[in-house]
């Protein structure tokens, strides 16, 4: 009886260790995804800053510019995960892409080329950080759906991380 109990106890300890390591792995992956999302946020706020500077420096005072600034302000205030923020950022992305493809729509000024370069730089940083986020999110989701981390995930009621889609 005692022997059986001690075996049971040993089994319990092994299970607990496996569970603990699975739990820690899952949490680590989740944190990595969170961390890369915060990198994206940093680059996004850089872009807001850049767009505001662009508007001021080039003295764009048409309706489109005002609207864009407002979009940027609203997007900045929203939390990273909200779908509204995603939508606003995509709007800004389509604007910057348009700016990169047709630079002639900006008024010619000495700072023109500098802004072109900065926008391109920020956009490539942004796409890199989104790709890093997606890679981290995929790793986390994969762990969430595979054994033994899925047990820990179900017990902690963790949700899969949404992937970023650029359209």
């Amino acid at each position: 009886m005692l022997v059986a109990l001690s075996y049971l106890f040993g089994l319990f300890i092994v299970c607990a260790l496996i569970f603990a390591s699975a739990h820690n792995r899952l949490i680590r992956l989740q944190h990595q995804a969170e961390q890369s999302l915060s990198t994206v946020e940093v680059v996004l706020s850089e872009r807001h800053h850049l767009l505001r500077q662009l508007m001021q420096a080039l003295e764009l005072q048409n309706q489109q510019a005002a609207q864009l600034l407002e979009t940027a302000e609203r997007a900045k205030a929203l939390p990273m995960r909200s779908s509204e923020k995603q939508r606003l950022e995509l709007e800004l992305s389509s604007y910057t892409r348009d700016l990169m493809e047709r630079p002639e729509q900006l008024p010619a000024s000495p700072g023109h080329l500098h802004f072109q370069r900065s926008i391109r730089e920020v956009e490539s940083q942004l796409s890199a950080s989104w790709r890093a986020y997606n890679a981290a999110a995929i790793a986390y989701n994969r762990a969430l759906h595979s054994f033994p981390t899925n047990i820990a995930g179900q017990l902690l009621k963790l949700d899969p991380a949404p992937l970023y889609q650029n359209q």
């Binding site: 490539s124 790709r131 981290a136």
Partner: protein, 327 residues
Amino acid sequence: MSNPLDIVPEETRWVAAAEQTRKQHSGKLLRMQIILFASFAVFFGTIIATVNALLPTAAAVTLVVGSLTAAFGTGMIYYYEQKDVQAAVKQQLIAPLVRRINQNFEYLPKKGLKQADLHHSALFPNINNIHSGDLLRGRHGKTDFVCSHLEVFQMGPKTRKAPFRNGKFEQSKPSFSGLMIIADSNKHFKGRTIIVPDHFEKYFGRWFSKQIAKLSYTRLQNVEMEDPDFERAFEVYTTDQVEARYLLTPDMMERILRLQHQLKREIRIAFYRDRVYVSIDDVQNFRVNLHRRLRVEEVSGRVEEQWALIRSVIDGLGLNERLWTKD
């Protein structure tokens, strides 16, 4: 360069000058080789004679010591002399060929990369010793580059055990013998990212290959890229996951794959301190045979080949396309 007819007499002139230098020294080198051979012959002859008791001991000892000293001395002189002559001939023969490609290119036969450059690139772990020479320096488009022939001797399990030459033991064969090109990058970055070929994934599967690779690049993180072809061919390590993706855009990954297909050789790429390090395995150096008449077609062919490699690396990786990022 303006009139192609001018080149021919000029070329024959510099080839003749190099040939003259070679002739001047080849006789001397040949004599040294004969002395070397003769002293070894004396050494072995003495040994055989002594074993058969044909020589008195005193004479035998004198002859052995004398012949060994002669062999060692001549060997040393021959080694350095040969190196100097090699460099002088290459300078006279190759420097004009290189300048013909571009006036601003500089060829330095005796200079090479330092071990520090290789440590910066981090492409070769556990370096024991390197041999590097035939440095070529210039600018292609907007990109400054340095290119050199390189042989890397890495430490293996055996070499660690044998304490010879300050704890180092030289391997007879280098683990890498090819070209290293260091060029300015078209992007700014802070960390280090390296791209090395993945040999294990084909045979042992993905998980196993990652575990093996983790052992050799312990201080860097592994990056999983989304392009499956690229992931099959290469392993990527970095200090910063976002920066790795900033450098390796989908376009860049395609370019690297295309470059490898085009060169049909093993390539490794490192990004460090705003520079790109590209190593290409299996490239011959500019060594000339000093005991034979110089053949300019052979040498110019190798110069052309090297220039083609440099060009395809710089153009293939798009290092000149810096319209919107970096001047």
